[in-house]
């Protein structure tokens, strides 16, 4: 028989103002099994906890109920207090009489009555509690970073510098990400490549970092401290150990008609290619869909010209399986598709481009070698129009409801750079709001206006139409309340950004939660911004929400610290509220196994002794280290063999009964 103590907290007046605490104590004392009941001003205080510890010792309590604030607040506090007094910490139940009672009800009679019922339910539950032992699980001292952009590189460098092994998995043939496509960066106008390339080189040279490019995460199992991950290394068709990166193969490749992804399709590339000159690794891949050899079997030019004999048409995808203690998601972003924004003529006119395309045009290594020109006739523009918020802040399905955050600043950057380099080009920016929170950001924008003479007009553009070899932009100036109809040579759209579409697949593999916009959800919006709610999964960069480079780098470092904090531990304490199967009731039907999100349930042939009948049965076995305690299996099980410790069928039914009494 349990000996239960009930402790009712006043929480100052937070509870006591609407709940008659004395009556709750009185009612609780009458419940079967309760041998002690008292109230106190602040149960969570050191003095309050002392009362609990003393009562446990004096009255030989086996379980306690604390009627106080939400268990999400102080469950741990009271569990520790119980443990210090020598009883199992899982013999503690909380009746939430603050958030769920005193704070939402005004009538003292009603609130007190409810508090008594909530106390009764907790007493009924704790009567059925059993001591649980938290286990431990190992921590693999290695981290995985998914995505090799600036976020992934920075996270990997910081983890590696702390002395832990890190693997970067990058889908494309080179690390570098979006930042490698940018020309200059705001607000200092550093050359993007000049600041990124050293980091790429550092990552590649770091003895603690292994980089898997042209690779994807294929399967993830396990849990915090010990994830098992399958990485698919796609066949590069080039032997990385032999290739010297001389580039002759790319020069000689006869297939040169594939849109160049790195240049956003503004020019073409060869079938064997490295995305850009500073690529890491500087080893090309053969794009098998474009390669003549793979399509027709005839060609083989690259193999013939390769002095190193590195070309390997027979190469196959390879699966690398590795264990990790922590995983960082750094999958980055892409710009949204503009096919639904007909009014801007993006799909019909080559002179209407996105800002990321402009980055490539402005870049010395880009399709125009850095000369500002129209893609239709390669003439230098005399005037340019920038349109902001294309697809951002959009309530309808065509775009995204959020602000993409970076566009105001990069548009100011583009406008400024163009006015600086080509002073005869008229630059007009149509904006809804110019948002420049950030150090030196507003000053930067003002310089664009005041020093460089960029013409900012408040008002979203209604329409862009082709008119001869010009573009006709129709808008309004909301300040002057005047119609604007202007002819221009080029239109640049500040296109909304969205998380990399692959992230949904990755989030599912990681069981990391994701919002309706496909941004990964952080564990707490303010206090745990780089952690996913799934233990051991961390977030770095735009996969979590729009951000610029400095913010990304800061978050990458923060994620790295969290990873290091985890990897520094030798063991983790596991949640003991896990599923447990009664082998005598188990039918072996596999229903539980099918609904388990963690693959924690396996089946084995086991000899059981069912009341004297010895036989070998197929029974479920729960790996308590993998189980996270959701309880899906307990309901899938028709015979009731599967139960959840800490939230058992009988415990919950006891609560139901107490509430409905």
């Amino acid at each position: 028989m349990q000996r239960i103590g009930v402790f009712v907290c006043h929480c100052g007046t937070n509870i006591a103002a609407t709940v008659d605490v004395a009556r709750v104590v009185e009612a609780a004392a009458k419940e079967p099994g309760v041998v002690h009941a008292e109230d106190y001003q602040y149960m969570c205080s050191e003095a309050g906890q002392l009362k609990i510890r003393e009562a446990i010792k004096e009255k030989n309590l086996t379980g306690i109920v604390v009627c106080s604030c939400s268990p999400r607040m102080h469950e741990n506090t009271f569990r520790q207090a119980a443990e210090r007094a020598g009883i199992n910490p899982y013999m503690v139940e909380i009746a939430n009489i603050r958030e769920h009672c005193s704070w939402i009800h005004k009538d003292i009679e009603e609130a007190t009555e409810k508090a008594v019922i909530l106390a009764r339910a907790a007493i009924a539950k704790v009567t059925l509690n059993a001591p649980l032992q938290a286990g431990t699980s190992r921590v693999v001292k290695r981290a995985l970073v998914i995505g090799g952009g600036i976020a992934g590189i920075q996270t990997a460098l910081d983890i590696a510098d702390a002395g832990y092994e890190v693997d970067i998995v990058e889908k494309t043939p080179s690390i570098g990400g979006r930042m490698s496509q940018l020309d200059k960066t705001f607000p200092t106008l550093d050359c993007s490549a000049c600041i990124l390339t050293p980091k790429m080189v550092e990552a590649a040279a770091h003895d603690k970092i292994t980089i898997y490019t042209y690779s994807e995460v294929e399967k993830v199992s396990g849990f915090v401290g010990d994830f098992q991950v399958d990485i698919r290394k796609k066949a590069r068709s080039v032997d990385m150990s032999k290739c010297t990166g001389c580039g002759v193969c790319q020069e000689k490749c006869p297939s040169k008609k594939t849109p160049n992804e790195f240049n956003r399709g503004l020019n073409n590339r060869s079938a064997i290619y490295t995305p850009f000159a500073q690529a890491i690794p500087n080893v090309p891949v053969i794009d098998r869909e474009s390669c003549i050899k793979f399509k027709t079997g005839k060609c083989g030019v690259c193999a013939k010209v390769c002095q190193a004999g590195a070309i390997d048409y027979e190469q196959k995808d390879e699966i690398v399986t590795q264990n990790y203690g922590a995983i960082v998601v750094a999958t980055g972003f892409d710009t949204i598709k503009l096919d639904k924004f007909d009014e801007y003529s993006y799909s019909t006119s080559p002179d209407v481009i996105t800002s990321l395309e402009l980055e490539r045009i402005m870049n010395a290594a880009g399709p125009t070698k850095g000369h500002l020109e129209r893609m239709s006739d390669h003439k230098a523009p005399k005037s340019m129009v920038f349109i902001q918020c294309v697809g951002s802040r959009c309530a309808d399905k065509r775009g995204k409801s959020y602000c993409s955050k970076i566009c105001c600043m990069y548009t100011a950057k583009h406008a400024m750079l163009i006015r600086d380099k080509y002073p005869d080009v008229e630059v007009t920016v149509f904006y809804i709001d110019v948002r420049t929170p950030g150090k030196n950001f507003d000053e930067f924008y003002r310089r664009a206006v005041e020093e460089y003479g960029v013409n900012y007009i408040k008002g979203q553009v209604g329409k862009v139409a082709e008119k001869g070899d010009k573009l006709l932009v129709q808008g309004v100036d909301l300040i002057d309340n005047k119609r604007i109809l202007m002819e221009t040579d080029m239109v640049v759209l500040a296109t909304a950004i969205e998380p990399n579409p692959d992230v949904r697949k990755i989030a599912t593999m990681l069981t990391a939660s994701i919002d309706t916009n496909n941004f990964l959800t952080e564990s707490h919006a303010k206090l745990r911004p780089v952690e996913s709610p799934t233990a051991g999964i961390f977030l770095s960069g735009v996969c979590q929400g729009p951000k610029d480079i400095p913010e990304t780098v800061a978050q990458a470092g923060a994620a790295a610290v969290k990873v290091v904090g985890l990897l520094a531990k030798d063991h983790l304490v596991t949640n003991p509220c896990v599923a447990k199967s009664d082998e005598l009731l188990c039918n072996g039907c596999s229903s539980c196994e099918k609904v388990c999100p963690y693959g924690a349930i396996s089946y084995e042939e086991r000899e059981v002794n069912d009341h004297g009948i010895r036989e070998t049965r197929r029974v479920a076995n729960v790996n308590s280290a993998l189980c996270q305690g959701c309880g899906a299996c307990t309901v899938a099980c028709p015979s009731g063999a599967m139960d959840l410790q800490g939230f058992s069928n009988r415990q919950i039914l006891a609560e139901v009964d107490a509430i409905c009494k």
Binding site: D582, N587, C589, V595, P638, G640, D643
Partner: protein, 321 residues
């Protein structure tokens, strides 16, 4: 039967699971036959309604192989049991037997035919020997409800067929959801009255549970202390509702609609209407699904789609309050 003898003699199997004549002319019962001699009692006629699949759970644990006779619809149950790892296919030799439909003795009795001694079939008619002389009754009028909406004459799993051909007369007949739809169209009060009347007949004999090939738990939750739900007394209507609702829920997505529950109910409660409601809902909400059709697909309740209907569909669709 001859074939069974052969297989017993040549050692392919060591026992045969079939039906033997009961103490009346129309109540054959499931039986094991361990020798060719015992097979003399073997019988197979329209009253061999019993679905032998469930017995194979037990047989699978015995030494060596067992021969079992399965009617087409029984093979769905057997398949479902394979899926749930309850039967051992390797230790089973299945003879798929042809089926013209199984009969409901109560339909004959209710027609006023009393003192039945034996029944035989003659074309479309049943010849019934009674103590009052020979009577005739149309075969089709004596069919069990489940056979009037037969899901097809194809065996899904077998080693050989007798009296049936492969791919014979596939496809279901009739609308098995007719009565479910009728109930759905009623006012809630009428529905409640209907079920209150039906379920209050329940004597908790557990025949439905014992006959059901899906209800095959080693120990039923209603017999264990896991839910404080072990109570057999017929206390009031709601106790019975709870039992039957949970029973139907536990077999939802696993029930092949074999109709054994209703066939064996001594009180004549149309229990299959509970199972069919789940089947109908599953088909409507999550796409057509026939339990036992295969041995590897995910059952509807262990599967999901992101776009699944919300539970509010019940209120929106019903709305008749």
């Amino acid at each position: 039967m001859e074939r069974a003898k052969e297989l017993l003699t040549d050692g392919t199997v060591v026992r045969v699971l079939g039906w033997k004549q009961g103490d009346l002319g129309y109540n054959p019962e499931p039986a094991y036959f361990n020798s060719p001699e015992e097979l003399a009692d073997f019988v197979y006629d329209g009253f061999c309604g019993a679905n032998l699949s469930k017995y194979m759970i037990q047989a699978g644990k015995m030494e060596r192989n067992t021969l079992v006779f399965l009617k087409p619809c029984d093979t769905y149950s057997f398949n479902q049991l394979i899926k749930e790892h309850r039967v051992n296919r390797e230790k089973t030799y299945i003879i798929g037997v042809g089926c013209k439909g199984t009969l409901d003795i109560d339909k004959i009795k209710n027609a006023g035919i009393k003192g039945i001694e034996s029944i035989s079939q003659d074309g479309d008619m049943l010849k019934i020997q009674t103590i009052y002389g020979e009577k005739e009754f149309p075969f089709d009028d004596a069919l069990l409800e489940r056979c009037t909406v037969c899901k097809g004459k194809t065996h899904l799993v077998y080693d050989e067929l007798i009296g049936a051909q492969e791919g014979e007369e596939a496809g279901p007949k009739g609308n098995r959801f007719e009565m479910v739809e009728k109930l759905e169209a009623m006012m809630p009060k009428e529905r409640f009255a209907f079920w209150q009347n039906e379920l209050s007949k329940c004597i908790r004999c557990n025949a439905c549970r014992n006959a059901c090939p899906a209800c095959s738990c080693l120990k039923c939750v209603f017999d264990s202390n896991k839910f404080d739900s072990a109570q057999k007394a017929n206390v009031d209507t709601f106790e019975e509702q709870m039992f039957h609702v949970i029973r139907a829920f536990h077999v939802a997505g696993r029930c092949t609609d074999c109709g054994e529950c209703s066939r064996v109910c001594p009180q004549g409660i149309p229990l299959h209407l509970l199972n069919r409601k789940f089947i109908k809902d599953i088909n409507e909400f999550y796409g057509p699904y026939q339990a036992g059709e295969d041995t590897d697909s995910r059952a509807p309740l262990t599967d999901y789609m992101f776009e699944d209907v919300e539970p509010s569909v019940v209120t929106e669709r019903g709305g008749k309050h």
